[in-house]
């Protein structure tokens, strides 16, 4: 069995917790977000015959007043960095968080999730431009509301985390 720590990163209200909710059954109370700033969940996958347990650290959303603690990123094998398709400013936060994660561990796998794609009419920029701007990591289009693309994003990250294993 392989366990990997995976962080859910992104600006506030981009839908990180909703993605986790959609992906796993959350056991810990959301109150941890306001006290400790992180809520831990778990999802079990089977990737290439390996039993993979993703231990998901759902971190509070970063904004101008509150920065994600570097200690929470330590030891993360990868991260899903979430961007809100209706808010362009969430792009820069995602970029900054991705860089901080990789600064701590250059081998950390980063996957981007463009969330809220069900709100197509409210996109901040057209989808093609979103794709063009999200150029530093693999991008997954998802909607926590409808469930579209959520499983695929986590599965792709899982594949990436075990890349190179027989």
């Amino acid at each position: 069995m392989i366990r990997k720590k995976v962080c859910l990163l992104g600006s506030y209200a981009v839908g990180k917790t909703s993605l986790v909710r959609r992906f796993v059954y959350s056991e810990f109370s959301d109150r941890y977000h306001t006290t400790v700033g992180v809520k831990v969940d778990k999802k079990e996958l089977v990737v290439n015959g390996h039993e993979l347990h993703l231990v998901l650290w759902d971190l509070y959303g970063e904004d101008r007043w509150q920065e994600v603690r570097a200690s929470y990123l330590r030891g993360a094998a990868g991260a899903l960095v979430v961007v809100d398709a209706t808010r362009l400013e969430t792009l820069e936060v995602a970029r900054g968080l991705s860089e901080r994660l990789r600064a701590g561990d250059a081998n950390a796998k980063v996957h981007l999730v463009l969330n809220k794609i069900d709100l197509e009419g409210e996109f901040a920029v057209p989808l093609d431009e979103w794709r063009a701007r999200l150029d530093w990591a693999p991008v997954h289009l998802a909607s926590a509301k409808t469930g579209s693309g959520v499983e695929e994003a986590f599965a792709a990250l899982g594949q990436d985390l075990l890349a190179g294993r027989p």
Binding site: R3, K39, A77
Partner: protein
């Protein structure tokens, strides 16, 4: 430098330059013979200094050799080593701490144990003078096991249960292995270890600065999470109750063992936890529990426990008996208070009850049954008259000894009697009826006396009785059979009236026959004849004044006769 071979050849070949030179050559020759080998070695050293590799091969031996000979080398190296250590501690404390971690733990524990032992000795002294059954039992245990008394006291004072042990990779917060008791407190160890790691980071960041603040213990409603931190991993124990300090020591010892055994795996941890599976046995060794009162004990302990149990049973017996008595008393009180005609001043706790009882109510023995004697209560009984309707009815029936022909009812507070009863009953019971509690009045107007009824009946039958005479005769003819019968009937009536305390009043009227000439004298003599006959018959009746004689030419009977008009003069009913 010259070649010695060349020099030698030159010397042997002769020298014509003089004695001094010859002497010098000899000395030189001698020097060459004695020291040429060392000279050559020095020359080689100067031309080709020894390489580091060569030095490394001989240095350990040289150091060992030096240590055997003298302490000079240690003295020489000490400042350098101290400087190096200081520099390392300042510049890279993590590595140094990690390096000495395996030895640091045991050393600290040894120190703590020594301190604790000293404390226990102090506690021993403090407890020396204490004497209690528990103290005696613990002292016996200390004597039996050979442990200090204070330690036994501490052990017996603690109570805890280790339910889960998590071995957590420190950097990632991932669960490496875990051991669980039969009834684990937390459902998903992976999540718990993740949250513990997150909380640990939070504490470290928030309270103490980057490195010093370490999460050591969390308390969550009846549980304690003890955390033992190591350089690469930590152990967390979910404990129910109050764990002893020994548990923390055991956790640190186990963590050190794990660090030693899995040093490489921990350094290169990539998330694969299967390799740590054998560690489960070490973790399981930390599970367990400590009961507050140990069941084990020597014979003396068992005797003490037995005595305690006996005392407890005795106390329970007394308590149960008292409880049963109180329950019986409460039940008896309930029954008495529910029974009409009772008022009780008492309680389940008291053994002296004051009872007011209506005499016509159910007897106490009938109410309480056989429990009466088990109550262990002294009764102080007084009588009272209850106004309970049922008891009033019972009281009427009992006090008045009612004959079946008498009916009674209550009309408000008035007792209404009706029907028929003997004159004696009426005379005896009517005053009692008026004295009945709650009977403000007695209405006996519808109550008929049997004797008076009989008198009235006979009186009605005999009133207007005729005693016949012959024409022109003023003497009753005893030969006529109806005359003695009628006189006997009169006598009986007279007796009946007399029995009632009254008397019979008879008024006579002489009536001439239809064919008889009207003669006043004759009629008067006939009245006298009847009066005399009545007297002779023993009638105690009063002969009233005779009625006026009939007027001549008035109505007349077929035969001459004397008519008797009867009246019973009876006393008023009480």
């Amino acid at each position: 430098m010259r070649d010695p071979e060349d020099t030698g050849a030159g010397s042997v070949g002769g020298d014509s330059s003089g004695y001094g030179n010859a002497e010098e050559r000899k000395w030189n020759r001698l020097r060459e013979l004695l020291l040429s080998e060392e000279e050559q070695r020095l020359t080689r050293l100067e031309q080709d200094p020894p390489k580091v590799e060569g030095l490394a091969s001989v240095l350990p031996e040289a150091v060992r050799h030096s240590e055997k000979q003298t302490e000079e080398l240690a003295n020489a190296l000490r400042p350098t080593i101290e400087q190096g250590l200081l520099r390392s501690a300042r510049q890279n404390p993590d590595d140094l701490a990690e390096a000495i971690y395996p030895v640091l733990g045991p050393a600290i524990r040894r120190s703590i144990r020594a301190t604790l032992q000293a404390s226990l000795q102090s506690m021993n002294v403090a407890l020396e003078n204490s004497f209690s059954p528990r103290g005696v039992r613990w002292r016996m245990e200390a004597w039996r096991t050979g442990r200090p008394f204070g330690e036994v006291v501490l052990l017996n004072s603690l109570e805890y249960r280790v339910e889960q042990i998590y071995w957590i990779h420190r950097e990632t917060g991932l669960l490496l292995q875990q051991a669980t008791s039969d009834s684990p407190a937390a459902s998903d160890p992976e999540l718990v270890s993740g949250m513990l790691a997150a909380i640990g980071e939070f504490v470290r960041d928030s309270f103490q600065g980057a490195e010093e603040g370490e999460l050591e213990q969390i308390e969550v409603s009846g549980f304690r999470v003890l955390v033992a931190q190591g350089p690469n991993s930590s152990l967390a124990a979910l404990v129910r109750g109050v764990p002893p300090e020994q548990l923390s020591e055991d956790m640190h010892a186990a963590l050190e063992t794990l660090h030693r055994r899995y040093a490489e795996e921990l350094d290169g941890f990539e998330g694969d936890v299967d390799g740590f599976a054998p560690a489960q046995r070490d973790l399981a060794g930390l599970l367990g529990e400590q009961a507050k009162e140990r069941g084990k004990g020597g014979p003396a302990g068992r005797i003490l426990v037995g005595v305690a149990a006996l005392l407890l049973l005795t106390w329970l017996g007394f308590w149960w008996a008292g409880h049963r008595t109180e329950t019986r008393r409460a039940d008896a009180l309930e029954r008495l208070s529910q029974t009409p005609g009772y008022w009780v001043d008492g309680s389940a706790e008291s053994d002296h009850w004051r009872i007011l009882r209506d005499p016509v109510s159910t007897p106490i023995e009938a109410v309480l049954g056989p429990d009466r004697e088990k109550l262990d209560v002294r009764f102080d009984v007084s009588e009272f008259q209850s106004l309970d309707p049922a008891l009033r009815a019972r009281r009427v029936a009992e006090r008045l000894d009612l004959p079946p022909t008498v009916h009674w009812s209550w009309f408000g507070d008035t007792l209404v009697l009706s029907g028929e009863a003997s004159e004696a009953w009426i005379a005896a019971k009517l005053p009692l009826a008026r004295a009945l509690p709650g009977a403000h009045a007695v209405d006996a107007s519808a109550l008929v006396s049997t004797e008076r009824q009989a008198v009235e009946t006979r009186l009605a039958a005999l009133d207007g009785l005729m005693l016949p005479f012959g024409n022109q005769v003023a003497v009753l003819d005893p030969a006529r059979p109806e005359i003695p019968a009628r006189l006997a009937a009169l006598r009986d009536l007279d007796h009946q009236v007399a029995a009632l305390g009254g008397w019979l009043q008879v008024r006579l009227q002489s009536v001439p026959g239809r064919e008889e000439p009207w003669e006043r004298n004759l009629l008067s003599r006939r009245l006298e004849a009847v009066r005399s006959a009545l007297y002779d018959a023993g009638l105690l009746c009063t002969i009233a004044e005779p009625l006026p004689l009939g007027e001549p030419g008035g109505p007349a009977a077929p035969d001459p006769m004397v008519r008797l008009e009867l009246r019973a003069l009876l006393p008023e009913r009480p």
